[in-house]
Amino acid sequence: MSELLAMGNYGPYVWSSFGLTLAVLVICAVQGRRRHVNVVNDIRTRIRALESE
C-alpha cells in the first residue's frame, strides 16, 4: 500500500498535482453555485424593493 502511495519517490509531486486538480474542480463548482445564489438573491431583493415602493 505504502509502495503504491510512494509513486517511486515521486509521491509528493504526483499527489499534490492530483490534489490541486480536485481542489480546482471543487472550487469551480462551489464558486459558480455561490454566484448563482447571490444573483438570485440580488434580483429578488431588487424586485421586492421596487414593488413595495
Partner: protein, 250 residues
C-alpha cells in the same frame, strides 16, 4: 435546425433546457474522471524514462487542453456576439473566462510540479510554451477586469469581446510553441503525425480524463451561463417568476 437554434438562444428557453442538461454532463464526466484517475494512478505502467512522475500527465493534459478550449469558446462566442448581436453568445463568453483562468492556473501549476523532478526547475523564464500559457492567464485576468470595470453590460460585452479576439493570436502560439522554438516542454503525444506515441494502457486513462474533464467543464460552463442569463434578463417577467415563486408574495 435554425428554428431549433433560435429557440435555444432565447434566454428563458435556454434557462429551462440547460437545467436538465447539466446532470447529463456532470455525472458521466465525474465517472470518467474517477475511472481515469484510478487507472492512471494505479493500473497504467510507469514510464520507462519518467517513472511514476509521468502520471501527472493525467491531470496536466486535460487542464492544459481545457485552458485553450475555454479561450477558443470565449473568443468564438465573443465574435458571434459582436457580429450577430446574440445576447446568449456574450453570456457564454463571460462565463468561459473564470473557468478558463482556473484551468490555465491548473495547467501551469501541475506543469511546474512536473517540471521540478523532470527538468530540475519549477519554472523557466523565456520558455515559449510556459510563457505563452502564462500570457493566456493574464489575458483571462484582463478580460475579467475589463468586464468588471464597465457597469453597462452592452458596453462591457463589446469591449471585452475585442480584447478576447485580439488575445486569440496567442492560441496558435501556445499550440505550436514546442515545434516553432526549442522548449523544455516535450512535443505532442496524442495529436501528431503517425498517431499517438503512447502505449494503450497509458492512453485509455488519458482519453477518459480528457473526455471526463470536457464533460465536467460543459456542466460548469452551462451553470455559469445560466447565472449570466438570469442577471442580464433581471428586469424581464420570466425571471421574476423564477426568482419569486408563486405564493411567496412580494
Amino acid at each position: 435546425m435554425w428554428n431549433w437554434f433560435h429557440k435555444l438562444a432565447s434566454p428563458p428557453h435556454f434557462y429551462r433546457i440547460s437545467a436538465k442538461m447539466i446532470p447529463w454532463f456532470a455525472f458521466p464526466g465525474a465517472i470518467l474522471i474517477v475511472y481515469g484517475a484510478v487507472s492512471g494512478l494505479f493500473v497504467a505502467p510507469a514510464d520507462y524514462q519518467q517513472g511514476d512522475a509521468f502520471r501527472i500527465i493525467y491531470v496536466h493534459v486535460p487542464a492544459a487542453y481545457l485552458s485553450m478550449m475555454a479561450y477558443m469558446i470565449m473568443a468564438l462566442s465573443a465574435a458571434i456576439g459582436l457580429i450577430w448581436r446574440i445576447k446568449l453568445a456574450h453570456a457564454v463568453a463571460a462565463a468561459a473566462a473564470p473557468l478558463g483562468a482556473w484551468f490555465t492556473f491548473l495547467a501551469l501549476i501541475t506543469g511546474s510540479i512536473w517540471g521540478r523532478p523532470m527538468w530540475g526547475t519549477w519554472w523557466e523564464w523565456g520558455d515559449p510554451r510556459l510563457t505563452s500559457e502564462l500570457i493566456m492567464l493574464f489575458l483571462y485576468f484582463g478580460y475579467m477586469a475589463l468586464r468588471a470595470a464597465i457597469d453597462e453590460t452592452v458596453k462591457a460585452d463589446k469591449a471585452s469581446a475585442v480584447l478576447a479576439l485580439v488575445g486569440a493570436v496567442n492560441i496558435p502560439i501556445i499550440h505550436f510553441s514546442v515545434e516553432w522554438w526549442s522548449s523544455l516542454h516535450q512535443g505532442p503525444t496524442l495529436v501528431r503525425a503517425g498517431g499517438p506515441a503512447i502505449e494503450t494502457a497509458m492512453l485509455y486513462p488519458l482519453l477518459a480524463m480528457i473526455f471526463g474533464f470536457t464533460l465536467v467543464f460543459g456542466a460548469l460552463i452551462l451553470g455559469r451561463v445560466r447565472t449570466e442569463v438570469l442577471f442580464r434578463e433581471r428586469l424581464k417577467h420570466w425571471v421574476r417568476v423564477i426568482v419569486i415563486p408563486e405564493g411567496a408574495g412580494a
